[in-house]
Amino acid sequence: MLRSTASRLLANVRVAPKAFAPARAFSTTAPSFFASATDASEKVKITLPESSFEVYNLEKPSLELEFSKEALVDMYTKMVTMRRMEMAADALYKAKQIRGFCHLCTGQEAVSVGMESAINSSDQIITAYRCHGFTYVRGGSIKSIIGELLGRECGISKGKGGSMHMFSPAFYGGNGIVGAQVPLGAGIAFTQKYLDIPAVTFSLYGDGASNQGQVFEAYNMAKLWDLPCVFVCENNKYGMGTSAARSSASTQYYTRAGYIPGIQVNGMDVFAVHQACKFAKEWTTSGKGPLVMELNTYRYGGHSMSDPGTTYRTREEIQHMRSTSDPITGLKQHLLDNSVASEAELKAIDKEARKIVDEAVKEAQASPEPDLKEFWTDIYQPGSEPVMVRGREPGESHWY
């Protein structure tokens, strides 16, 4: 009897693995092209493919958008620099200079760069593990990011945290328990509303963390009080080694709050991400309450460095995503098609990115390990600490 109860119970859990179909590959149809002047501030019009968005209880954002050429080149530069930085981290890990945990965002560059291009420094971001890219676009230097990974003094958290512990003034991290950051995002959004700051908080989590109970607790509070919070599910198809369909009863993450409208976005297209984030900021700051946003993206590497990333998905699938949906290749095509930059100019940007990253790595490597005095800092507010922190054996204490 018990066994049959269990089988019924498990019917929902035991989902057959589905063949992976990319949600929406990067559009290969060229956008409308109007401008050809070389002036940096000259606008380029972009038309997003119809398939860029799916919506739940709201009207689709406009598919038309405009960027200055300068802004386009800036996006491209950030994306290639970010990728180069992650490749450097990968190499440093393999050379055993970075130890412990390291979660790379290679393949997901359009998410952070697209989001950053649509918001400003009064808007806030919080996420969990895959945080290097956000730290970079939110103002963290490459040296400070690599330094943090290496556990050096120049690290953005003084080298005390490592991969998932990076923060910058408008970026609340970088958190170690997936899902735990989501209600924090709602709290940050509450302060924005309370203080009448016309700004939004993007509270990010992965498809894996989307099933944590706290996510739903945060949805409820945010809607109850109509907070300017956008719950962003970075759906990269796999929570660690488990595909979304095996972990989630509904993989339509943008609909999962029910009473909160949602939007699904091609997260491999930096323009679509930009447009969705801009739309979300307007929506939330105009008092309409929270939004749920699903960004369909893909990580090229494993969940972490110890995961080759090929045991639960095929090499062909990864190769297919790289060749059809790569966010950098997609943007590059736009730049070429719109004569924003030539192939040679883009190559120069790539080369410069490599140089910048290489130099930053060298500087980070030259940075010493954090001084032992940092062992006891940042536990309590300076001046209000207990008189001392106890150490390993009696007598070995640190007195503040």
Partner: protein, 396 residues
């Protein structure tokens, strides 16, 4: 280094400590810490049973050697795997679940189980720790054997409420109508050399404060298999902490047949007359090394080493019996000192053996700081610190 730490250790001790520290520093100054962490001595530990004869010499396994004396070389995670396999084979209501367990889990402790026992008995859950434990409590309340895995002990805190308020109190608050005795929560714990804030903690003390759950932490493959089977079959919810650094580092000849080791019973690993040394999990190896060093440097000294194995219920009898003989007690654990389990042991011993104590009880614990990434080597209650403590109680 020690000057900064304001050590009040005697001079002779200072010299030795300092020298040992510096050799460690030299070793790590220009290269990263070893992948296996700062853990000298597991490979050479005399506590690990490397031959079938040694393995079966254990009186707790005496019955086994007569029935089926076959052993197999296993590391810690293979022994866990073997125990889970035994549990699944002998109890058809038992199921194993957790994040990524059907693929073998991040530490390979469940590899092959889904293939062997079916995906309806060994399955992945979403990333939902509170849900995993709550789900297990529900299953166990019906009478199932629920073997849940929390991927890292650091992730157990989202499930804290379920463990403390639901699992631990189900029997009590239902007046015995329901219980969750079939629930076992396995979770990898403790330092690994580079785990940082969220992949290194050892949370036994949080749960020790909660009546109704048992807490177990084995030190070796043989112990892991026997204690895990006992935990699974024990009619109380059990939190089974697996020191993750030992998964590959600790290798023994493990009996292949079905056996259990007793919960609530500490094991005296080495007899001695002058100092009682108590620990559990990874710390046992540091204590073993510290004892070797102490016995070498202090003529005539002999230490008694006790592995608690079960943190709750605490086998205070074994500890006090030893302390009554030696008069001196050193306790080591990785978790921070304040509110750590060593405090509980200290108090319990003081209550029962106050007049037998010859020296203040020494606790060698992790610092009262968050678990650090860059400073792990300074945080750890390493062999030298344990040695210092033994020396201190000896010279008191």
């Amino acid at each position: 280094m020690l000057r900064i730490l304001k050590s009040k250790a005697p001079n002779s001790c200072f010299r030795l400590t300092s020298a040992a520290f510096q050799s460690q520093r030299r070793l790590y100054a220009d290269q990263p810490p070893p992948a296996e962490g700062f853990l000298p001595g597991v490979a050479d530990s005399k506590l690990l049973k490397r031959t079938p004869e040694e393995a079966l010499r254990n009186p707790e396994l005496a019955a086994l050697s007569a029935a089926n004396g076959e052993t197999e070389k296993m590391n810690f995670f293979q022994a866990i795997n073997n125990a889970l396999s035994t549990a699944l084979a002998t109890d058809e209501t038992s199921v194993v679940f957790g994040e990524d367990v059907s693929f073998g889990g991040v530490f390979r402790a469940t590899s092959g189980l889904a293939e062997r026992f079916g995906r309806d008995r060994v399955f992945n859950t979403p990333i939902t720790e509170q849900g995993i434990v709550g789900f297990g409590i529900g299953m166990a309340a019906v009478g199932h054997t629920a073997i849940a895995e929390i991927q890292f002990a650091d992730y157990i805190f989202p499930a804290f409420d379920q463990i403390v308020n639901e699992a631990a109190k189900y029997r009590y608050r239902s007046g015995g109508i329901f219980n969750v005795g079939g629930l076992t929560i396995r979770t990898p714990c403790s330092a690994v050399g580079h785990g940082g804030h969220y992949h290194s903690q050892t949370p036994e003390a949080f749960f020790a404060h909660c009546p109704g759950v048992k807490i177990v932490m084995p030190r070796s493959p043989i112990q892991a298999k026997g204690l895990l089977l006992a935990s699974i079959r024990d009619r109380n919810p059990v939190i089974f902490l697996e020191p993750k650094i030992l998964y590959r580092a600790a290798v023994e000849e493990v009996p292949v047949s079905d056996y259990e080791l007793p919960l609530g019973k500490a094991e005296v690993l080495k007899r001695g007359n002058n100092v009682t040394v108590v620990g559990y999990g990874t710390q046992i190896y540091k204590l073993e090394n510290a004892i070797q060093l102490a016995e070498k440097h202090i003529p005539g000294l002999s230490c008694e080493l006790i592995d608690l194995r079960t943190i709750v219920p605490l086998d205070i009898d074994t500890i006090c019996e030893s302390v009554n003989k030696t008069g001196r007690l050193v306790i080591g654990h990785e978790a921070p000192k304040t509110g750590g389990f060593a405090a509980e042991i200290t108090t319990a011993v003081m209550e029962r053996s106050f007049l037998r104590l010859e020296a203040p009880i020494q606790r060698v614990c992790g610092w009262d700081t968050p678990f650090p990434l860059a400073f792990e080597k300074f945080y750890m209650p390493d062999m030298i610190r344990c040695y210092d403590a033994i020396k201190k109680v000896t010279e008191y």
